[in-house]
Symmetry: C2
Subunit: 216 residues, 2 copies
Amino acid sequence: MAARLGVVSVVQAVIRSLRARIFSGELAPGTPLAEVDVAAQYEVARPTAKAALENLVASGLLTRNAHQTARVTLLSARDALDIYRTRAIIEAEAVRLLAALREVPSEAREANAEITELVGASPIDIIDPDIRFHAALVQALGSRRTSAIYAQLTDEIRLCMTHVQDATLLSTKDIAAEHARLLQLISEGETAAAAKVLEEHLRTASNKLAEHLESL
Amino acid sequence: MAARLGVVSVVQAVIRSLRARIFSGELAPGTPLAEVDVAAQYEVARPTAKAALENLVASGLLTRNAHQTARVTLLSARDALDIYRTRAIIEAEAVRLLAALREVPSEAREANAEITELVGASPIDIIDPDIRFHAALVQALGSRRTSAIYAQLTDEIRLCMTHVQDATLLSTKDIAAEHARLLQLISEGETAAAAKVLEEHLRTASNKLAEHLESL
DNA sequence: AATACGGAAATTGTCTTACAAGTACACATG
DNA sequence: CATGTGTACTTGTAAGACAATTTCCGTATT
């Protein structure tokens, strides 16, 4: 049950901290993270810092070439479109299965309820429930590997969000409404229609996102 | 252009060698790989061996718990079904796109021609062209991340193959015939039928595979 | 003045050594 | 025979050092 403790290993702890700082926006895209600096900041040995950085590079959160210092990944518009296209493949399949079973995951319903309550809040606050909503759909597939792959994508999706930061790309109300419509189609067993709504939902979101990234 | 050289870094070289040995069957599933042993074999420092092992653990080729020596992953029947289910999601989407464009990737056609020529050969020899056939379909999606994810899955697929080793699960002739039928449906623009054939192709393969793994 | 060359600084890649911490297995003991 | 303990083995982390590579800046040349 070590997973419930905050620290499993020093490397893991550093990884967690860096991830949190990246997602919070404290470490903005492009920020350099040298091994010695990270080691000094956390008071750990350089190999430890190195291992943490390599892990984050593998996740796509950091980018680095050989003999160059790692930097927080700066995603392009092309990247955003690619990420959303990939997630759409997985989520569409999940939605088709759920619709075939006419099974609406309770976590998805709860996450969307949370979004509905946050109509006036900052767009940053809806990132978390929004991600939980979509993750709940994928989770329903019940595939360990599909979920793992989607979790990886989720990291990059969150990174996308930090790029746009406070920019309001879509209204909270619209998002909640589209989610609700999707859940309704699932409950009605409309597999094709549900998949179509999801794909359209992701397409409009990624277009807005790409448009915003292009303007940077 | 360092990628064309055999050695980019020592860690990478060790990773490559271990991967090859795992896929060749020299390192059978369950084989323990202690850090000190790997370091001694390749005459590298333990941290270097450690980094290589950690990379392979991340790929799923090796398995290890904290403070325990890594072992070549032993896949269960459940794992095989999960792997094939996940790859089916991605490949089905690729096939649907290709059929919509009526575009048959030349690499897929060439890979299947290679399989056809190997009707009498050992089942091990068709692993490579078979994997290339399926990879060509996914490559056609033109998505960097989808391809990367599929490449990861490919590692586990190859690992599956080493588990069954010489066991003839499906006849080479049948495989080539199903591939040919799939390509034909793609060229005819039969999106739904092509996807269905692919899913059936993967389902029968994974069932045979799972059945065989269950009996171990 | 612009460009090419050369060198110094910074950073990563790897190795060596060392010790701490955890796990597993055998052994002794009740 | 079951249980607890201790030891050997393995991994986790640290500290220091040197090699290799890249980047950047200053200098010299055209």
